[in-house]
Amino acid sequence: MNFILGILFSIVVVSILVFIPWIGVWAWDLRFVFGVIVPYAAIAIFIMGILYRVIGWARSPVPFRIPTTAGQQKSLAWIKPNRIDNPSNAFGVIIRMAFEVLLFRSLFRNTSLEFRQGNRITYEWEKWLWVAALAFHYSFLVVVLRHLRFFTEPIPAFVHWIENLDGFLEMGIAPFSGFSLPGILISGFVLLAALTYLFLRRLYISQTRYISLPADYFPLFLIIGIATTGVLMRYMGAFMQFIFGADWFSVPVVNVKELAMGLVTFHPVIPEDIGTIFYIHLFLVSILLAYFPFSKLMHMGGIFLSPTRNLSNNNRMVRHVNPWDYPVKTHTYEEYEDEFREKMVEAGLPVEKISEESAEDKTGSSEEAEKE
């Protein structure tokens, strides 16, 4: 396995995943399968899968309290502790976790090694991964939330707000006659740009190229596929109409909403007039949902359970109990003294038991052997 194989493999898989609904809907007209059965199955797998994984993790105990301390501990009253990076109570942990989850704080520390021959090592500014990671995740989140307008009636106010925020570049006017562009929502483009960067950096940074698995390329390509089909549906229709006079891409929003509402209200319907491209989009999303619980995408759940981040560094204040703790064999003081008694007495070290030969009483310390 090398990166070429890994990338090829992922591309092939994603291509197959595009072809399946294409053939299925366009050639065989299996709209019910791809519009209803597959999405339901995917959602079921997604929910059950996540539960299964999280419960699986939670079933394993946390025997030791091992936070990675990334700041000053709480010790003497006059030394200022770092309450966030080295939390000593639940409040600190919550703040630390919030920073991790919302702002990727640890990733923000990233630097990149510059190694100059002749023994000069420096660590350079490198926040691009952090920037791209935030851009990707937040635009993904915005896109997901925007989709709620398909699944809700009436549409909650916050969805409108997000949409307005997202569309602040709105170009309501037609640039020239006969061609009007729908409102531009930047999240989709940010998402694609960030994904492209995340893919390219995997390639051009030799270290990530070496460690990347198909399981790293695949989700990137899959999400690129989802975003691309989405963008095509939204914007390309207008172009097509303008250039070719026919529109193969745009999808009547009303009909899509009918389908979506059918799904959430458990009265599935398959409206007419929805093009194949929509089914491809929907199928890829279904695959992402079904794939999610069994992949590295579960980092979404794992980050909350990570014992190096979600525990406070109060070990010396509050005892942590290991549920599977068991007694171990130790070398007791008694055994130790039995072996070295003569030498200890000779060196003037106190002993518990006076050996027969040296009847001379030392301090008459009572015999109180340790039992482990």
Binding site: M1, N2, G6, W57, R59, S60, P61, V62, P63, F64, R65, I66, T68, Q72, Q73, S75, N82, D85, S106, L107, N110, L113, F115, Q117, G118, N119, I121, Y123, A133, I205, S206, Q207, T208, Y210, I211, L213, A215, F294, K296, H299, G301, G302, I303, S306, P307, T308, N315, R316, M317, H320, V321, N322, V328, T330, Y333, F340, A347, L349, P350, E370
Partner: protein, 553 residues
Amino acid sequence: MADVPKPKELVKIRHSPPFLTGWMNTPTEIKQGIACYAGKPKNLEYVGLPNPREWSPFDADWKLPPNWKKIILDGLRERLEKFRSLKIFMDICVRCGACADKCHFFIGGGDPKNMPVLRAELLRSVYRKEYTTAGKIMGAFAGARELTEDVLKEWWSYFFQCTECRRCSVFCPYGIDTAEITIIGRELLNLIGLNTDWISAPVANCYRTGNHLGIQPHAYKDMIDFFLDDIEDITGIRLEPSFNRKGAEILFITPSGDVFADPGTYTCMGYLMLFHYLESMGLDITWSTYASEGGNFGYFTSHEMAKRLNAKMYAEAKRLGVRWILGGECGHMWRVVNQYMDTFNGPADFLEEPVSPITGTKFENAKSTKMVHIIEFTADLIKNNKLKLDPSRNDNLKITFHDSCNPARGMGLLDEPRYVIQNTCKYFYEMPENTIREQTFCCGSGAGLNAGEDMELRMRGGMPRANAVKYVHEKYDVNMLATICAIDRAVLPDLMKYWVPEVDVTGVHELVANALILEGEKKRTTDLRGEPLPGMEDMDEEEGAEQTEGAEA
């Protein structure tokens, strides 16, 4: 000891991994100068570790038990059920590579399997094969591979090229701690007798004699007596420490390295002088020969072994009837004390919440373990003006401070040592911020890698640290590297000799003792090392506080 290439040779490092060959297809070579020697059967037998035998990692046949694979896989399954950390770390890495160039072994060696993420993948790949459906079906395409003897050897090689320093964990967005994976990886390897001599010998020694070096009780006392002679030469005062004394208020435990090898010995003299100074102010403290080791090489073997060795601390405290425990300057000792001891061997309900007998300060942060770090203790003394200090005695030193990994990333003991140094020395300079505090670079020899035969690995792993020292040496003329870890004191001198020969190494309590003005002392002309104090260079050569030569620790 294998020949170590010259620094000029060693810096020729490439950090780009092979282009077309994937890591699974890159075979592992067990190299002289990088690998440690194998554990000796007698040491395994002494503590009852499995599969004791003569073997060598450089041979083709590692003399594994016939059912080794089952033992390892059962062991892995058991640990997945016991450690949530392991399970999560196996599942959620996204291979973003943020940790890749953060490991000192990768920086100093360029071996891509020393990137933390790949070190973890060595184990993860087998985990996928055995415990995930995708791995079972898709094999290498799912990043999975069969556990073979070669894979096992690869594990051994790379889990003993990790110092469990946790630097990678600071940068990982999920806190994935490759140290934790190494710890569990080593635990698995130990199930079939794959270990190193430099770890299993100290473990057996510690079990038997109470300390890693195997110093027997009378010899331990003799060593301290030597220090008392030296201190008397320097200060004119004869100290009278006590050992194994019942009814003392405080039990003092420090790593045995400080009793045995320079420059730790001077730190040890520092403790003795500090305790003497405080005696008249009400300090009632005893040393122990049974619990004469703070360090815990068991922790580099398995959690169980760590617990077995650590048990002595509380057991001895209980036997002697002390109120609380004071711990010396040590790295992994404090990782274990801070993060494991109470869980391993507590609750310490036979002890009392620690209170400084001198200042009355309650050490609230240690109210459950009842063990206080001597740097916390001394910082509190200084803050309360309890120590008469003459920092000018350290004026010939330009100091920088090396945060040891364990107190930094397993505890957060960052400002206390700086406070103590700044109050005992005039010249203190920080290394660049990417190389200190929670981002500190390992000495390159921790977690049991401080053997002689892997010197090349150590010099490579220590390169980033040395590079930062070199920077402050060139910029501020720094000539002394202070640290609060016994392994550091044992290994950094070698590292400095190799990379920055102008810089020497010291413990913080050596600096304290140099500055400390003892009641009734004679006019000091030398520091604890027998070297003239600043301004005393022309004085008559004192008859010399030559130190006892210890074996390399």
